[in-house]
Symmetry: C2
Subunit: 340 residues, 2 copies
């Protein structure tokens, strides 16, 4: 995988050979973005399956459980990580030997990666229909190819709309503290030749006031059954500001981001990271070391501020309890029909 | 003066011996904050007055004009800089010789510094009356002793309220791109022993939603006659968010910040600075060098979002056209009465 902490200054590929190496890469944000950490966690379980020294199926299966437990400790908010682990463990359960299990686990983790590619293309197509022929789009954090396997979610919609010949200009929120917008989204847009301008997070509102933003699109780390959206810190701010300025606020995410176990956003666990990520930037102090800092990595946007949620199965609108459940049911039906 | 670009890591004092050195210090943000750059500009004219090699009054006066023209080019938004220059030049006009002029110019620039001290104490007292006995206060940028001669404007109110025994906790917006909140406000609060927590700018809205902010206080670089407020980028965002969450949004500034020549905020010149201040942090690249960035240093908050403006002569409320003019008239009257 690309070590995303080194971007945009250096493109460094790292090779993870153990579950622990992947777990540390997830914790350190070397790989980040809800879909990408889901797929990385799946492959990390495959590494555990292949590296296990257990000779019998039960010992091997226990090794997988330990690996999954380690991976569950990495980051609490994005549900894709937990879903990916469940998916791969379920595949392991069907194994009748270690060798059979290894094949099944590797196939299950590769299926996650393939599915993510397909899902993002579909999100791109559904979402692009929402984008006018000429649009100034504000986005936050990174939801592109780096955050997924390919293409991206919110940024995937922007890619698709641009590919369709729409005249797109992207306002890129830098997204403090980890600067995923300035470092990663700008890097992807530059590579894709999509016009864009980086801004500090505090400028978005004034650009809205000046009429320089037509719509906002962001991704999601977990969506409650009622449509409340947990996403990168700063997202809620943009949703309130978009509403105050009469602009559409779209969320783009795979249906697997919806967590039916969580009824309302207030129940989504929000990761709090080290205050040093706020007090220092790339190792350089930018605040007194003795000053406290609160580094909440995510926030929750209530469903009533979300204009629509773009998924691979189509576009959900309020009331989300019903629309998200319907899309999920339709997607399961389509998948079962399309299977051989 | 303290070189504010080196804070909080190092406290480095620099000595400016020429007008040009002060002008460069203002441009490079070594000294910043509307009141502080006003006073610095006044002293920079005094340096021109003392350094002039002209032998006759008219030549000397022309040197002052050239120095003032240079200083007017430094930063366009804060009106205090222009007012300070006008004030000192007016004192020079009354001179009947070079030596007399030098005395008058030095006295006028020192008067600006003395006045700023007195004004900030008064703003602190008026504003502290607005602060509840226990309050979580959000502030933006730096409006403290570093931004003034002493005490501060918005931060001066917080200092005064804390001195009065009120239980204050300050949420410090880091204030990208120049990080005046994280670097300077946190440093001042730490030194003053006032409890505080640094946050990224994008987190403020979610803390409001969670009920963890009681009120917002900011400073101002220029206030239009109608009460529209130009201040550090990110201020307008906070004003919209405060309104959306039902929180008071206060502005603290000397009456000299009000520019009666400017009727509405849209006419205030807003400084645009180098995109490299967004693309790099302390010299380290945090974005692709080829990606455009927009670095608007200020924004404008419309008067209808401002709960009150705290000045040295009292608290102005809407309609600001009238209340600000009344306070200005009262202040002029009081000043003329209190003179010997």
């Amino acid at each position: 995988m690309i070590d995303q902490t080194r971007l945009p200054n250096e493109v460094v590929w790292i090779e993870c050979r153990t579950t622990e190496e992947v777990a540390e890469a997830i914790e350190a944000l070397r790989v980040r973005g809800a879909p990408a950490i889901g797929v990385a966690a799946g492959y990390a379980l495959a590494l555990a399956a292949l590296n296990s020294s257990a000779r019998d199926r039960d010992g091997w299966r226990s090794d997988l459980d330990r690996a999954a437990a380690r991976l569950r400790q990495t980051r609490p908010t994005a549900v894709s990580l937990f879903r990916a682990l469940d998916h791969v463990l379920q595949a392991a359960d069907a194994a009748d030997s270690v060798a059979d299990g290894q094949r099944r686990v590797l196939a299950a983790s590769e299926a996650l990666a393939h599915q993510d590619r397909r899902v993002n293309e579909q999100i791109g197509l559904h979402g692009a229909a929402l984008i006018p022929a000429r649009a100034h789009i504000l986005t936050h954090c990174n939801t592109g190819a780096l955050a997924t396997v390919e293409h991206g979610t919110a940024l995937g919609i922007i890619r698709t709309a641009h590919r369709q010949g729409k005249q797109i200009h992207v306002w890129v929120d830098e997204t403090r503290p980890a600067l995923q917008g300035a470092r990663l989204t700008a890097w992807e847009l530059l590579a894709a030749g999509i016009p864009h301008t980086i801004i500090v997070d505090g400028l978005a509102a004034f650009l809205m006031r000046r009429g320089e933003i037509d719509l906002v699109i962001v991704g999601a780390d977990r969506i409650a059954a009622n449509g409340d959206v947990a996403n990168k810190v700063g997202t809620y701010s943009l949703a309130v500001l978009a509403r105050a300025h009469g602009l559409p606020f779209y969320v783009a995410a795979p249906l697997s981001t919806v967590d039916p176990q969580i009824e309302r956003g207030v129940d989504i666990p929000l990761e709090e990271r080290s205050p040093d990520e706020v007090r220092t930037i790339r190792g350089i102090p930018v605040a007194p070391a003795a000053s406290p800092a609160l580094n909440l990595a995510f926030d929750v946007t209530p469903a009533e501020l979300v204009t629509a949620i773009v998924t691979e199965a189509g576009i959900a609108r309020a009331p989300y309890n019903r629309s998200l459940a319907e899309l999920a049911a339709a997607a399961v039906h389509e998948e079962s029909v399309s299977r051989p």
